[in-house]
């Protein structure tokens, strides 16, 4: 038994060690080193890279990332809750409606971002249509700003909010809603004073599942944000490619990892049920 178990676990363990554990360990070490003359890493060990994260230029990038992730999460909650309510009350067609939420999530994220570029850019569909209708003269600047990034994140991560909300609503005891109605509450009163508070675990899980990937996003801000909307993910990518300051990029990665891991650990029970 022991031998079989070892043989079964060994390949996965080796791959995980080589593609996850060792790489993260190396990045952790690099984050305490200094930048070498030709873009490599060199001694001495220092905390310099972490100190630089507090530099106003980089602190601003961190704040902007937190802010954009928070706004996206709030919008996902506002848009996702009624959708989850609709699906939970849909009876026999639940599975279909749920699949319609999940399906776009599995179809290439890159292509879905391109779809928004196609719609939003100066000569895109929306501007062309509005100009043809004579509603605007100059194209509206809809792309390459914070709003476009938030739109892309909401579009990309809405399923992460809807799924846990739906799962909690599904398990909700319907007699509680009936009791509220019997005691004279109007539908909206029931919604805000009974259903919503009972959904707190789902809201919490959904919020973290949207917030964490939004905080670490790279592609959305890269394609929809333009050069002015730099987020942590873009900072990390830039330090490892064109800027070639790996130790600083490593420190930024680690800071991002720690925030993400702490939030996910806080949500671990509800997160695991999702899987």
């Amino acid at each position: 038994m022991k031998r079989l178990r070892f043989l079964f676990l060994a390949p996965a363990a080796v791959v995980l060690a080589a593609t996850l554990v060792a790489p993260l360990a190396i990045v952790s070490v690099y984050s305490f080193l200094s930048r070498g003359a030709y873009g490599g890493v060199t001694e001495p060990f220092s905390l310099e890279n972490y100190a630089r994260l507090w530099d106003p230029l980089y602190a601003l990038i961190f704040w902007r990332s937190l802010w954009i992730a928070a706004v996206s999460t709030a919008i996902c909650l506002i848009l996702g809750f009624p959708l989850a309510l609709f699906i939970a009350a849909a009876g026999r067609r639940k599975t279909l409606y749920l699949s319609l939420v999940i399906l776009p999530f599995w179809t290439s994220f890159l292509i879905r971002l391109y779809a928004w570029i196609f719609l939003l850019r100066d000569t895109g569909l929306i501007n062309t249509a509005l100009q043809a209708l004579g509603m605007i003269r100059e194209p509206l600047p809809m792309l390459y700003n914070e709003g476009a990034v938030i739109l892309g994140l909401v579009y990309g991560f809405l399923p992460f909010m809807v799924l846990p909300l739906y799962a909690t609503l599904e398990r909700l005891d319907p007699s509680l809603i009936e009791a509220s109605a019997d005691l004279g509450a109007r539908p909206f009163q029931t919604l805000f004073r009974v259903t919503l508070p009972l959904c707190a675990p789902g809201i919490w899980a959904g919020a973290i599942l949207v917030f964490v990937p939004s905080l670490g996003t790279y592609l959305t801000s890269d394609l929809l944000g333009g050069s002015k909307t730099i987020l942590i993910g873009n900072l990390v990518q830039n330090q490892f490619t064109s800027a070639r300051d790996w130790p600083f990029g490593a420190a930024a990665s680690l800071a991002l990892m720690i925030v993400a891991a702490a939030l996910l650990l806080a949500a671990r029970p509800s997160g695991e049920r999702m899987l």
């Binding site: 850019r121 000569t123 899987l275």
Partner: protein, 252 residues
Amino acid sequence: MRRSLAVYATGAYAFLHAPLLILAAFSFNTSRFTVWQGFSLRWYAALAHDRELIESAGNSLLIAFVSTACATAMGTLAGYALWKRGAAWISGSLYLSLATPEIVTGVSLLAFFQWMFRYLNLRLGMHTVILAHVGFSLAYVVVVVVARLRSFDPALEEAALDLGATEWEAFRRVTLPHLSPAIAAAAMLAFTVSIDDYVITSLVAGVDSQTLPMTIYALARRGVNPMLNAVSTIVVVLLGLMVLLSERLRRT
């Protein structure tokens, strides 16, 4: 309230699906510009002559097939072993792999490969991309396989052992057949995440391993291009069918 919810849901579904539907519609446009001028398949015909797109699509398929085969085999065995008895170190790593932001996974793999290359005479290329893809799709496979094993009665395996089967025979002849739909679903999931990945791949790819998402990214950066609409439509339709099939298998 029911009615207003239904109206709202229609709007929400339009928000989720309209962008891709519009993108697909314009792949059949005669004009190169974003003005509808009539139906045509010319952009699909043009795809057949685009060397870069065809080559990178070939690379993507090769990478996806190889990494899916490896990740599915390893993930199934590991999932089975973990179901029998947990191993905190491995489940912790799997959870970490799902939780790590893609960009962080990408740069750390890049740093790790470059460090290894100091001792090995290798460069970034197909092998580094495939290794990276096996790594990040492994967790998806384990999650799907373990979920299926939860509905499996361990007494069936014990009965096989009592009847004289070895551990391996019991796994091979009793448990594995029960798992087969989940394994197929897991493989399709791994294939989807592999063929779709841009962030990690672009960091660990070499000159000979440009993938389809890398080509799509470069084209999207240059602006709107009806040929890109055509490629996107093909990819979205194929991936969509695959995901639907995978969901169906997961539920049987």
